[in-house]
């Protein structure tokens, strides 16, 4: 069998237990042949299973490292974890830790993603076209920082604790956020086109939330500042507009600004356009 740059993996049957797909790295697999990919060992409960037992593998005629996964992968975790380069796409749903700690490359998931997607993501671009679970762009227990760089785009709705402890990078949420959006946020930018749930920005220390859609209720531990922020707004709104058309009307408007959470460091800001 000849080597290929990209592979298509079609799920044959649901596994008995959750499967760790972190060994599937587009860049690392590029240049191997279909047989080698099929023999890749995946962790499954307390044992390993060969990839070929769960997936049909075909070579793709891609010119750059690429993986295309097809099927309902909700029992498959850690897709694209620590990914460093290449393209990875999934047609169905995925499990937890999608793109966790990824450093570069592109991931697109057509369906919904489980919890902790993009957690501790450091670079690259991750797009989820469906909904996303809790703690997306967040941090693992004990880690001081959640998402650390790159761009996350979610077209659906997000679960609770969206952007928990996020430190850097840009997140665009086109649907609605669950409760505790941006909890304990350290820095970075979250742009929201939809609504947010209860207690948005709880314990937020720094960072920016841009409300492009409906205006949120401002918590009692946030306070308004009325100074001229047109310079920062110009920089930020132009950038967001370039990232997604849902935000391309921001630049022409002037937002209201509140700061908080005064229960934490209080240097976070909400820029409210809606």
């Amino acid at each position: 069998m000849s080597a290929a740059q990209g592979f298509r993996l079609r799920l044959r049957a649901q596994p008995d237990f959750r499967v760790d797909l972190s060994p599937l790295q587009p860049a690392a697999l590029a240049g191997r042949d279909v047989g080698e990919v099929a023999r890749l060992e995946l962790r499954h409960a307390n044992a390993h299973v060969e990839l070929g037992e769960l997936f049909d593998v075909d070579a793709l005629s891609s010119e750059a490292p690429e993986l295309r996964l097809e099927g309902d992968l909700r029992r498959f975790d850690r897709i694209g974890q620590a990914m460093d380069g290449g393209c990875l796409s999934v047609t169905g749903e995925v499990g937890d830790y999608l793109g966790a700690a990824m450093r570069s490359g592109d991931i697109v998931v057509e369906g919904r993603a489980g919890h902790l997607a993009a957690c501790e993501m450091a670079g690259g671009r991750l797009e989820v076209r469906g909904d996303i679970g809790d703690f997306a762009a967040g941090a693992l227990p004990g880690s001081m920082d959640g998402m650390r760089g790159g761009t996350l785009v979610v077209r659906g709705n997000a679960g609770a604790r969206f952007g928990d402890r996020m430190r850097r990078g840009t997140v665009l949420l086109l649907g609605d956020a669950g409760d505790f959006c941006a909890s304990r946020m350290v820095a970075g930018t979250i742009a929201l086109a939809g609504r947010v749930g209860a207690h948005c920005g709880y314990g937020m220390r720094r960072g920016t939330l841009v409300f492009g859609g409906s205006a949120p209720d401002v918590p009692a531990t946030f306070a308004e500042t009325s100074h001229d922020i047109r310079v920062t707004w110009a920089l930020l709104s132009r950038s967001l507009g370039k990232l997604h058309p849902a935000f391309d009307s921001l630049a022409g408007r002037v937002p209201r600004r509140v700061v908080g959470d005064l229960a934490a460091d209080g240097k976070g800001e909400w820029l409210i356009v809606g």
């Binding site: 693992l140 227990p141 004990g142 880690s143 001081m144």
Partner: protein, 558 residues
């Protein structure tokens, strides 16, 4: 039991004056025996080309109890990486700074250590400490109970209670907690912090009880001497980590007034305040004092660069350092009118002026001290660095050129100016055998450990000679515990349960009335439950051997 001969190794057994002679060592029934050269044995190991020493003994390592477990819970990120392990003998256990107890036992044994002592057991947490040590496989263990900050003790001191009563109280505390010695941490300072006092010098009064650390230290040292406790009072002196604390350290030595005392992690207490950063090495001042005070022994608490966590009973100092934590987390607790605990993760950096100097001060202390019997090799695990860095530390002490290489990587102002540059001394294998086996055994009163004489316990480490001392001490060829092969070339061969060393003190049981009354009025636990019986110790310690240690004809009993 079988008979074993280690044939043809070079033996370093300082307790018996053996300095690198080639001789055979025999073992039978867990003990070292004299074997006739022709005597048939069950197993003979050819250890020519190897160095034979008694098993290592760590007399100050935080391996068990509440604060260690809190440190584990606090640092899941330090425990996520899995290493390959022997699935038959090793259970899943992880961590670098504060590994699980199982991992702790495996790692110590794999580098030739056979005993380790938890230095900071709170009386209120004693069962827990014994349980963790009981789940630390292979190693024998014991603990020093923390005294000198309990409200009852301070109250007795404040009201001028007869010394004999206090001595009985100390004897009772050792017995109740099944301790191997007594440690005092920031004498009076942990309690003072509960009364919102943020600093306590040796001759400064506790804001509430109006007693001084000098008084606390002297009283405890005297009590231990009179009780005949072999291990001198284990002292974590006042002002840990504070620039200029050499003054309080020297004053603490004076407070002993000639009574035996062991000053622990002395590196953290040997700071001057000279120089541009008002922070300097006071190693020479310290060593001058210690040389002149034969009643004093020390262990170093060497720092090792990299991530670790500091866990201490010294809440006053730990809270003061909470903002320096990296990652920025803090656990602190005021505990049961007894003591406290403070946990601060820490990352020692080569490019930090202060850390680089701390590193140099530790090494200076090791190298300037002329009597290896009074200086014990420790990193104050995990406070200065994890115990797994001992082989690295040994190489730093034995290899001047290696030391210079490390020195060159430090903060330039430190690398260019420290005394350490001028110290050419390289420790010998004999020195190392003293500092890591013979001296700690002697300081703990363990007559049959830390040595290879006939009749001693067959705790033995066999290292293959290697000019790279770090590699040599990291992976011994063979490690025997009580005559049983437990590790070979870094792989475990057996995982026996270790034994518990504890002291059997004598004291006037009349003191229990005072303690009972105090507990009823002030504490939250029945006095009866403050005492750990031998059966209970056995169950806490996971069924390991109970290694009772008699006191030295003390004057405590009636």
């Amino acid at each position: 039991m079988s008979t074993i001969r280690l044939k043809g190794g070079r033996v370093y057994d300082p307790a018996n004056g053996v300095d690198g002679e080639t001789r055979d060592i025999g073992m039978r029934d867990g003990r070292i025996v004299a074997l006739h050269p022709q005597e048939e044995v069950d197993h003979e190991y050819d250890v020519s080309g190897c160095v034979v020493m008694a098993g290592g003994i760590d007399l100050h390592t935080h391996i068990g109890g509440g604060k260690v477990n809190l440190a584990r819970m606090m640092l899941p990120e330090d425990h996520r990486a899995n290493r390959a392990r022997d699935p038959l003998l090793e259970l899943a256990s992880n961590g670098c700074c504060t590994p699980g107890t199982l991992e702790t036992g495996y790692r110590y044994a794999q580098m030739g250590y056979t005993a380790a002592f938890e230095p900071a057991m709170l009386a209120a947490n004693a069962r827990h400490a014994h349980m963790e040590m009981g789940d630390t496989p292979i190693l024998d263990h014991g603990a020093y109970v923390m005294l000198g900050n309990e409200e009852l003790f301070l109250e007795m001191l404040a009201r001028g209670e007869d010394f004999e009563r206090i001595r009985d109280y100390v004897g009772w505390s050792i017995d109740a907690s099944k301790a191997m010695g007594v440690k005092v941490v920031n004498p009076g300072g942990i309690s003072a912090f509960k009364f919102n006092q943020r600093k306590l010098d040796v001759d400064e009064n506790h804001v509430h009880w109006q007693v001084t650390p000098r008084h606390v230290v002297h009283t405890l040292a005297r009590a231990l001497t009179e009780l005949g406790v072999p291990h001198p009072l284990h002292i974590h002196a006042s002002n840990l980590g504070v620039a200029g604390n050499i003054e309080s350290t020297l004053a603490t030595i004076d407070a002993l007034d000639g009574l035996p005392g062991h000053l622990t992690h002395i590196q953290f207490h040997s700071y001057g305040k000279e120089g541009p950063k008002k922070f300097s090495s006071a190693a020479r001042q310290l060593i001058e004092k210690v040389k002149a005070a034969p009643n004093v022994s020390i262990d170093v608490g060497q720092i090792i660069f990299g991530q670790t966590v500091t866990a201490s009973g010294d809440t006053m100092r730990q809270f003061a350092n909470a903002d320096l934590g990296s990652p920025r987390k803090y656990v602190g607790g005021d505990i049961e009118c007894d003591a406290g605990c403070g946990v601060v993760p820490f990352r020692y950096r080569e490019q930090s002026y202060v850390n680089a100097l701390q590193w140099a001060i530790g090494l200076e202390i090791f190298l300037l001290m002329d009597d290896p019997w009074r200086v014990v090799l420790t990193t104050d695990h995990p406070n200065g660095g994890p115990f797994t860095s001992y082989p690295h530390l040994i190489r730093l002490l034995m290899d001047k050129s290696f030391r210079d290489e490390q020195l060159a990587r430090l903060h330039p102002d430190v690398a260019a100016s420290v005394d350490l540059r001028e110290i050419g001394r390289e420790l010998s294998l004999y020195d190392i055998a003293i500092m890591t086996r013979a001296a700690p055994a002697r300081l703990l009163g363990l007559a049959d450990r830390g040595q290879l004489g006939v009749g001693a316990a067959a705790d033995i480490a066999v290292y293959r000679e290697d000019a790279d001392r770090e590699a040599m001490f990291a992976t011994p060829e063979y490690v025997f515990k009580d005559g049983r092969l437990v590790a070979r070339q870094g792989r475990l061969e057996a995982v026996p349960v270790g034994g518990t060393h504890f002291l059997e003190t004598e004291f006037d049981p009349g003191i229990e009335k005072t303690i009972e009354q105090y507990a009823q009025r002030h504490l939250s636990v029945s006095y009866r439950n403050a005492k750990i019986g031998k059966d209970e110790l056995c169950s806490c310690a996971n069924g390991g051997a109970l290694l009772a240690c008699k006191v030295h004809g003390g004057r405590g009993g009636k």
